[in-house]
Subunit: 413 residues, 3 copies
């Protein structure tokens, strides 16, 4: 039941040195056996690689519990974030990083050297109090993506059923025509851009709420409410999901002219034009509007792609804070502007026609325009010289002279 | 012939400290000169930056040979993976990382500090026994891509000639029509998706073979055969190549409606329809099928892109093992499913028509469906509750009670 | 005015140790207050997190000035590259890296441990002389992108007005027709590929100039002129901008068949064909040419995308120098070839028709072909066996026997 596994894969020179390293690969419930071995383990480096099956199963981290059991040994938590596959076959692409933590620098150094020799790259996470975090890491499954995913799924489901009723059911009920085939491409290509635009705007809304809150409070030294903090922390995920939906929209749009339905309709249009001997005039303003609509969409999407690329860890690490915020804020608002303008051009004068409001409901694109329009209007207000000046001063530490507690100032100047 | 180059680019403070660092930039065949200098070099840090023109030219690494010649010096292998350009002009984007190895920690520290001051980031690769690996690094040219590339080229060549005969040669021989222009787009757009789908399935086949092998053996403590190990290690490259082919397929497909041939054919179709006064009915089921076909393709490709993005080193490093395997396995099988379904929808009822089997050969898309269908069927079988339960238990370390050697168990629990 | 902020966010164990760390968060102009505190600060680690509002405001870096004021303390420059947001809320995606520098290793170690405990990853940039660089970092705003951006904007503006006059103004003046709507898509889709191709070629031109210079000089041990060095250092940015323009070109092209103008024109063409009872013959050579044109474009763009992906920091870090130069050089020239060929196929026999030269000006695509054609011709010349052999020898260190100063040789062999 108890097994000390000395890793065999070390090179010869390394193996000679590592005799004082003990790798512990047993489950936590068997740790109490070790208490009796305490004298033999004294001064040794105990490498705890254990993981739990669930979060918060025990009050303290396995490594801290081990350290308490064998106080004479130097416990180092390491290698637990690796897969068994990586431990057997050496570092692969997904598993090059070994996190470790421990109270004694020499012990950590010894483990780090072993890991380095095996080809891993080591990241020191500090003292043993970080063990809990390291033990929770392998159980993590996109925690920060959950809220954005829920929002995306919720919005998609709502707009899918909304548009299903407005487009397919309405046509079936009123005109008695079955256009259910439109679900696969046409309907999807309405849902995706709507959700994408709303989620893109949701990335920039919290920043605007924060600015208004700071203006109202006259200081930056008060914490934002929790919901705002949480919202701000998932902006990146919101944005990336929005980019995913935008990409789907792009592909669904580009595939349009190959579709059977579209080809059939165009052919039928030309045939009926000939049979009825009609001549249609080329309308310059439609051409202008349509081409601007495509241009805005393409520019918006390309800027959006750029935002996505700069949020790759290796790219954003190479940027200074000023560069990162320039791209994510300045270019980000430009992206919102282009995409919103794209949607307005799509709508054009459609909002004037009564036929647009089937069953007295507004079309989907109108609903999608509410949040981004609000974001843009408020951003414009915040850019007014007088507002902008006050906000900049507040962000540089200035406070409107309220008889406030001064203790907050000393925290962060 | 012999030259000690003291790097001149150091800042003043650094230069004063580094006087005990000797950078050795001579070819290995001139190292014997150094033996006579051994007394002067005693205690100094010798930085070996040499590289060889070929692999395995000498029995031992240059740095190890040097250490043997001058045992009193502390040899550190470093900087050899950098280009001359980076050494002259300072770190550029491609060359920020300096690998080093050596037996003495202080010597490595001194070299690491110099490298840091020059703006490089240092990666310690352990003792001098790693020197061989460092010396082989600059000679490396995509070793892990070779097998996948060979497979890709082989499959592409086979399907190109197969389809050339079936499409172009057959038409020429039987109908006497020269449609050789179809090679450039139409034929390419058949070869690329076929090869892509087969290679995508080849990524997931070894995992299924491994699972079957584990079920058959009743244990996970026996090594897989060598060919399977090698296959599993190049899955990432197989997948990325498949993604490349899929991207080509996407571009070749989207370009279809701009092609002269397609425009001509559509125009001719409409004209003949008018002249013969035919009226074609809109077929709902064709619309459903066509749109589903496009939808599946787009969803499959977007998921495939996601797999590709998460295989970027900086992204996969930020993921926990559970997250990485969720994406690469769960979403991976979903991708295979979407893409296979896409191909089935393309085929539809074509397999029933005798005209499909020109010269008694099956069309290309049928051949491409064999491997992915096998993968999906076996995956479904492995997901059956009874099979899945056994497999999970085997992977958690359980063994079917065979009178086996127990020594394997102790290696990795 | 004076405030010592002890960071409160540390874990308990860490807080106990860090009592000797003093974080200094005041503006440089208030540093003189510290001179009187010198005795109390003796032996303490002073962490300077200050930033300036402009570059080169003071003759020496803030941290160096501080060290001079309080010589007994150990000044470490750190945390200044982080945003206030990251300091308050812990490391986020854009802000995981803490750069530090200082003269005393122990002091740096102490600060590094604190940063590690807070979840940041630390990068040591050497002695305090690096402080200036660290203080300039937050003020950086894409310095290396400026020249390439200027070139891109200049070229775009020039070609926009050039084509505006040739296409829109010419048609208006000569035929009296208003086709201004073409600005949004058709004109943009001419400007983008032209600028992209020229900038792609500009990436490879300096390498060719450098080779010719080395051949002419007969040695590699002489520095290139400054303008060439600067040009070579911004090749990556030039290439990425060219890729951005190429992507825009791709989207603008793929959107063509959905445009109102194109649909109208095709419809009108078919209708007039029927009314005039013309029959158009399918032209095999036009099909060949058009399909090759698309094929070359797609292959060129996909290779270009590959070049872009390998220039991501995390990908290029994983490549050996040989692999990186294989992709950026070999595949790079292949990309230039595909794209140039694509442009030649676009032109085809257009250069023979007098109607092409409106107002005696050559069309835009001709101008775009000058630089890439030069690059390809010179590259072919450099690949001639006799030239290539000499160049390889020069790059391996051989020199044509000129009576030159030998001192250069010793610098870098």
């Amino acid at each position: 039941m108890l097994c000390f596994c000395f890793v065999q894969v070390l090179s010869h020179a390394a193996a000679a040195e590592s005799s004082s390293l003990v790798f512990l690969c047993i489950h936590r419930q068997h740790y109490d056996f070790l208490e009796s071995l305490a004298p033999q383990l004294k001064g040794k480096v105990l490498v705890d690689v254990s993981n739990n099956l669930k979060k918060n199963l025990y009050p303290e981290a396995n490594a801290e519990y081990l350290q308490r059991l064998v106080p004479g040994a130097h416990v180092v938590k390491a290698f637990n974030t690796l897969s068994a596959w990586a431990l057997q076959n050496g570092p692969s692409d997904a598993n090059r990083q070994v996190f470790l933590c421990g109270n004694r620098a020499e012990a950590k150094q010894a483990v780090a050297e072993t890991a380095t020799k095996l080809g891993f790259s080591v990241l020191d996470r500090g003292s043993l109090s970080a063990a809990r975090e390291l033990e929770d890491f392998p159980l993590r499954l996109f925690p920060e993506w959950r809220l954005p995913l829920l929002i995306a799924i919720g919005l998609s489901a709502f707009f899918f059923f909304y548009l299903l009723i407005r487009d397919v059911v309405y046509t079936y009920v009123v005109q008695g025509k079955d256009i259910s085939f439109r679900i696969m491409v046409s309907l999807a290509n309405k849902v995706f851009p709507i959700v994408s635009l709303i989620m893109l705007a949701l990335c920039y809304l919290p920043g605007i709420i924060a600015a208004i809150l700071q203006l109202y409070r006259g200081t930056k030294y008060r914490r934002f409410p929790d919901w705002l903090d949480r919202w701000m922390l998932c902006r990146k995920q919101l944005g990336l999901l929005a980019l995913g939906f935008a990409s789907l929209h792009v592909f669904y749009t580009l595939v349009i002219p190959i579709r059977y339905y579209v080809r059939f309709k165009i052919g039928a249009g030309i045939i009926s034009q000939i049979k009825e001997n009609r001549t249609s005039e080329f309308d310059n303003s439609i051409a202008w509007r349509g081409d601007s609509y495509f241009s805005m969409g393409i520019l918006g999407f390309c800027l959006f792609l750029l935002l996505g690329i700069t949020s790759l860890p290796s790219v954003s690490n190479a940027l200074s804070w000023r560069e990162f915020s320039f791209i994510q804020s300045k270019l980000g608002y430009l992206t919102v502007f282009f995409c919103t303008f794209h949607a307005y051009l799509y709508g054009w004068d459609r909002f004037l026609r009564p036929s647009t409001y089937k069953w007295f409901t507004p079309p989907g694109y109108m609903l999608s325009l509410i949040v981004p329009s609000l974001v843009l209007v408020f951003k414009l207000l915040l850019l007014l010289p007088c507002v902008d000046r006050t906000l900049t001063r507040i962000r540089q530490g200035w406070e409107r002279c309220d008889p406030e507690d001064d203790s907050k100032k000393t925290l962060l100047t």
